[in-house]
Amino acid sequence: MVDVISVDTARSAYAVEVRALAKSYGSVPAVVGVDLRIGHGAVVALLGPNGAGKTTTVEILEGYRRRDSGEVAVLGLDPGRQRAQLKPRIGIVLQSTGVDRYLTVAETISMYSGYYPHPRPVDDVIDLVGLTGKRNSRVVRLSGGQQRRLDVAIALAGDPELLFLDEPTTGFDPSARHEAWQVVRNLAELGKTVLLTTHYMDEAQHLADRVAIIAAGRIVAEGTPATLAGRDVARPHVRYRLPAATPPPTDLGGQPTPDGFVELAPRDLTQALHQLTGWAIEHGVTLDDLQIVRPSLEDVYLQLTGDPAAATVDATAPLTPGKPG
């Protein structure tokens, strides 16, 4: 592999910089050209369906797997060749977790702290993840949500600059998820750079400054949760329902939908609403369920990851919502 652009590892402006990353398992490609940049202090969510290449990408960045080709700089270091130097500076929360079940919370965190040159005080870490009340409980007695918080605590023990959270809330009940989210927000407040993978939209939306959608081994869209794939500039749709046997206004256009609505995507929203409501008042028609909708993050996600062809969609082009696909 020859790449003319070499990553300047010493003065990298990014906590993570990935170019043209590729990795196959045998003849099965897992990652086929991921490009990703994460600024210092950012919280970035890597969003994608199972098997999209999330974990492979993250584990290459963490140094667990070796890449086939591409350029990777994590905190200015190559995780493949400089793993020993990288380890003290990163924290890792793996998807499947394990800790010695017979140690207490405080003992476990102290043990891991001892591996690092500049650990964070143990009680500080325990407070940060909200396990103060469980400080002297054995790990075996913690609930699933508490064990996950302990995972984060262990990853924080060495006071890392960069944290990897691989599907931090998969399998959680809603209250445990909200607790975990609070912990991630605490990390962001500390100025840590966080790369989390998830397949939950709301998680990405709540936690991340930026979202990258990965499908079939490549990043298909990248941006803030609000503007991803042109969500913010996509034309809003107006939807309304008419009483039975009332024909819609002829001059507005619009298509009937399977759920009994009339839907239109007007060029001028204000004008269209004025026209519609004016018509309704004039004709004494009640407009049930009048809605103005933009594509949700989920719509964008489904469109981008739904079928293999979607992987080639120009991620910067505004999406046309409601289009079949």
């Binding site: 667990y64 793996l94 499947s96 591996y115």
Partner: protein, 252 residues
């Protein structure tokens, strides 16, 4: 080194808080000693041209059995469990050097072994008037104990490479060690008059050499440095295999 010692303290804490590991390691050899001696203790066996009381014979045998369990079985089974539950992968993601992690396990197993052998010897002396090594015999005995513990730890690390998952750990470990324990006279006394093929088969593997070495301390039979060498060679082979094939991640 400090890191290894600190790590060992945590290994030790976890060991004693796990009732199953503490029970199997300590109670089983003593229980076996009581049972075997009650059943066969009055008999005698010819070892190295000397007539030995079976009660003394079993003290040496159960001390060896305890050490092998504490090192080989314990390490192989608990490491496979830790590998499958992701503890090893997590540890591998931290700056802790692999040598410190393994060193802590070996040191801990050695410590447990010393306590266990001492306990067995003390119990044997008190209950069965067994002979206990002293002086130069004790020094040679200690060398064999330390080399043996290190070897069985290394073999424990190595065997994890062929254990596919935690469920298979105990069966594979016992299937690999139990026949050797029998062939090496741990449970059923093998005297000079045992079939030749048993002697020859046992001679290939480290268990018999190790047991012979420990036995020399208890029974006053001749101590062969060649036994120490064979055991150490197996340990080295185990270490090399472990370095080459050991996996920090679940094998599935």
């Amino acid at each position: 080194m400090a890191l290894t010692l600190t790590q060992m303290r945590y290994v030790n804490k976890a060991f004693w808080r796990n009732p199953a590991s503490a029970f199997f390691t300590f109670a089983l050899p003593l229980m076996f000693l009581v049972i075997f001696t009650a059943l066969l203790g009055a008999g005698q066996v010819l070892v190295g041209g000397r007539v030995v009381h079976l009660s003394t014979y079993y003290v040496a045998a159960m001390a060896s059995f305890g050490l092998i369990t504490a090192c080989y079985n314990n390490i192989a089974i608990s490491l496979t469990f830790q590998r499958d539950t992701g503890v090893l992968k997590r540890t591998n993601g931290t700056p802790l050097p692999a040598a410190a992690y393994f060193g802590a396990r070996v040191l801990h197993a050695l410590l447990v072994s010393v306590v266990l052998v001492a306990l067995t010897a003390a119990f044997g002396k008190a209950a069965y008037h067994a002979e206990v090594p002293s002086g130069a015999t004790l020094a040679r005995f200690a060398v064999m104990l330390v080399i043996g513990a290190a070897t069985f730890c290394a073999l424990g690390f190595a065997i994890t490479a062929v254990i596919p998952n935690a469920d298979a750990a105990a069966p594979i470990v016992y299937a690999s060690i139990l026949p050797l324990l029998f062939l090496s006279g741990i449970f059923i006394p093998i005297g000079d008059n045992a079939p030749a093929w048993i002697h020859w088969t046992a001679r290939v593997f480290p268990v018999k050499h190790f047991v012979d070495g420990l036995r020399a301390g208890f029974l006053g039979t001749t101590f062969h440095w060649s036994d120490v060498l064979v055991v150490a060679a197996w340990g080295l082979a185990g270490l090399l295999l472990a370095i080459r094939y050991f996996s920090w991640q679940p094998r599935t």
